[in-house]
Amino acid sequence: MSNTEAVHEPSEPAQQLTTTGESDERVREEWTEYDFAGDAKLAVEDLDVYYGDEQALQSISLDVPEESVTALIGPSGCGKSTFLRCLNRMNDRVKSARIDGSVQLDDEEIYTDGVNLVELRKRIGMVFQEPNPFPKSIRDNISYGPRKHGDLDTGLLARVLGRDDREQEADLVERALRRAALWDEVEDRLDDNALGLSGGQQQRLCIARALAVDPDVILMDEPASALDPIATAKIEDLIEELAEDYTVVVVTHNMQQAARISDQTAVFLTGGELVEYGDTDQIFENPESQRVEDYITGKFG
């Protein structure tokens, strides 16, 4: 998908108007086109999500540029996590969820029949809002993904056949943990159960676990919500660093954080609409939409 036909085609607002009525009049007026240089890694078009009869996302369209950090901000319950989960089709796992629209990864539609979900999720990694390490050792948590994908072979058979990848595993575990700023804390307790870590450590472990699979895109749902300022700073550094090779989409409630780390920001507001999307600097300094300005300055939640 080229830049010019990015998200906000002229026809877009009109369509929104027909689907959702009065309040969108304002949206259209405030609407702005975001144009970026480079390729779109993820292209979302007209994404509607319903949980039962409740509509959680309303016709969302946005393009995520490659090798950059995209922040999603908005009040609680506005559908940020829902949107994130649509990008690697984790919402398919919610029974009541119904999803309409299109998401393209590298110009390939992911919402069609015959998409290999396993392959898709290998390429789009995810860190959940709640830390959810497996009840296994720290080492096994990290090497779980690569091992299941056949990149590591540490089983009994491999050992007997002399194809043991233990060193490679140790290497991979260390690299992932270092990137997630956890290595120093767990270096000498890699065989301890991951559930014995603190909440913040668990969250960083989950980041490390996602990195170990080496995806193209990393989705993070409030990765720093349970962390102290020092660990948060480390995670922010990590995110910025990751953006050199990866495409990062990160949900955050912390606006300073969004302003610090992201290249572009999407603002969702209650009801599941995308109100404004653009360069982070521009969104925070000079938003087009009055509602976004109110939200950012704290007048509106």
């Binding site: 984790m90 396993v118 999720r121 959940f128 959810n132 390490p133 497996f134 009840p135 699979v213």
Partner: protein, 534 residues
């Protein structure tokens, strides 16, 4: 009993009441244990202790406890002791006390009015209502002590004045039961001691919320104690009766063990455990064939039921859509688990035996016990799998891991302790199962050789490629052995009677089952360790 020390907000004289309450607790405990001694006939009911009849002493203890409770309760009501009672002991306590009083009233009326059938009812009802009111209406300190104290003093006093003594019996006209005083008195005392200890436990903490907590702890504690007591009694009884048989001609160095290169070395000898049951040259008949039979049965049943049960549970929880079908399967498995074992046995006899071995055999026994084990394994692993949080599944899916790999590497390990619990329970049941074994498994009650399953495999190049005669022959198992021994006429060897041999077998069976439990609990601990940080 806990000894709680804490700083009261208001300093006052609470030490006296605490001391009295402790005294009541001590008297109750003494009376309680003494009564059990009498009940078990370890102390003769006519014995004299310090020149007084034992039963009278028990009565004195009850009266003393009753007086002590009265002192604490009334003293607290008159604000002589520091306490924090609520305004009432509460309706539940009232109903219990009312019921006790009603029973007491009924007994008194029957005694005094000479079994006149119609008259005891109004008296009992009147007592009951009084008991209810006396416990509910006054403040808690009086309401939860005086009704108890009254019962204790009445009962104890009646015993002390000789109203009931060792030679006394009560045989109600409407029943053929006879209650001799030698049993009735200790029973009443046990019961009274429990009551007074509850009341004293409340009083010791000054009533109110803390008193109720103390009372509740005491109740929970005594229930646990009672349960352990019953268990210990059972085990002790079996050990007492079976130990002598089991240790017959045992010696630590009497036997020989032939080692390669070294030759014969002294070795511990356990004839009862290591000998065959029958045979010409067996001096001390043993239970080795039955032990081996039981172990093979359990092994085969587990081997059969565990993979099937877990597989079905995985299918039902992870793959099948929840709906009519899974509901039917759930109801069916629950029903299967409660099906009487003899029905399984009959099925084995009518269906499996003719098709597989043509007669009783170990293999059919394993299958039948496996069928019995299957539903429990299925039910418990289904629960365990359902209890694995969805977050783990999501986390795994988000890493691009397939569903089957997720089940294998995340869900099943997390569900393992629960599954093992089910297997332990099930093995406990099937290891002691007798009824189906009578129909499909048992052979000679005094076998002269143990089933040599491992040595009987025969391989061939033609179908079915492998056969095992030992598996297709009948054998003996411990519960089966026990049953056939005690129902048989005379024991073939002089050295034991049927009963002696039976008790020995029972003890070995108990040990085998406990051993299997230990293995199960050990493996469950191992998996728990892996799952949790400990």
């Amino acid at each position: 009993m806990s000894s709680v020390t804490r700083n009261r907000l208001v300093a006052g004289d609470s030490t006296t009441s605490v001391l009295v309450a402790r005294g009541v607790l001590a008297a109750s405990a003494l009376a309680f244990f003494a009564s059990w001694l009498v009940l078990f006939q370890w102390v003769d009911e006519t014995a004299l202790v310090a020149g007084v009849h034992v039963l009278k002493l028990l009565g004195v203890a009850l009266v003393a406890a009753g007086v002590g409770l009265t002192v604490v309760g009334v003293g607290s009501r008159l604000e002589y002791f520091e306490s924090t009672p609520s305004s009432s002991a509460g309706l539940p306590v009232g109903f219990v006390f009312g019921l006790l009083w009603a029973v007491l009233g009924g007994l008194v009326a029957t005694r005094l009015l000479g079994n006149a059938l119609a008259m005891w009812l109004p008296v009992a009802a009147g007592f009951g209502i009084v008991g209810l009111l006396v416990s509910v209406l006054p403040r808690e300190d009086v309401g939860s002590t005086l009704p108890v104290a009254a019962i204790l003093v009445l009962l104890g006093g009646y015993v002390v004045v000789g109203g009931i003594n060792a030679g006394w019996t009560w045989s109600p006209s409407w029943s053929s039961a006879v209650f001799p005083g030698s049993e009735l008195v200790p029973l009443l005392v046990v019961f009274g001691a429990l009551l007074s200890a509850w009341s004293a436990a409340k009083a010791r903490e000054g009533f109110g919320a803390e008193g109720r907590q103390s009372g509740a702890y005491y109740l929970v504690g005594s229930v646990v104690f009672a349960m352990l007591g019953v268990l210990a009694l059972l085990v002790a009884f079996i050990v007492k009766n079976g130990l002598e048989t089991m240790l017959t001609r045992t010696s630590l160095t009497g036997g020989h063990l032939t080692l390669p290169f070294v030759g014969s070395v002294p070795w511990a000898e356990f004839p009862f455990l290591m000998n065959q049951t029958g045979g010409l040259f067996v001096e001390v008949p043993g239970v080795l064939p039955a032990v081996m039979g039981t172990l093979w049965l359990v092994f085969g049943a587990v081997l059969f039921a565990v993979p099937l049960g877990i597989g079905a549970a995985v299918f039902l929880t992870e793959y099948a859509e929840r709906g009519r079908f899974t509901q039917v399967v759930e109801v069916a498995t629950n029903g299967l688990w409660s099906t009487p074992s003899i029905v399984f046995g009959l099925f084995g006899l009518a269906f499996l035996v003719p098709r597989i071995s043509g007669g009783n055999s170990i293999f059919v026994g394993q299958l039948v016990l496996g069928f019995m084990l299957l539903p429990l394994v299925l039910i418990t692993s289904r629960e365990a799998i359902l209890a694995v949080p969805d977050e783990h599944r999501d986390a795994s899916a988000a890493l691009g891991v397939t569903k089957w790999e997720t089940i294998r590497s995340v869900v099943l390990p997390a569900a393992m302790p629960g599954t093992i619990t089910g297997v332990i329970l099930g093995v406990g049941r099937i290891a002691g199962e007798t009824a189906p074994l009578l129909l499909v498994f048992g052979g000679s009650p005094y076998p002269s050789s143990y089933p040599n399953v491992l040595g009987s495999f025969q391989f061939s190049t033609q179908p079915p490629f492998v056969t095992n005669d030992a598996l297709l022959s009948p054998a003996s198992a411990l519960p089966y052995q026990l049953y056939s021994t005690i129902t048989a006429g005379v024991f073939p060897k002089e050295i034991f009677t049927n009963t002696e041999f039976g008790w020995g077998t029972a003890l070995v069976l108990l040990c085998v089952v406990l051993g299997l439990y230990a293995i199960g609990v050990g493996s469950r601990l191992y998996f728990r360790r892996k799952l949790h940080h400990e």
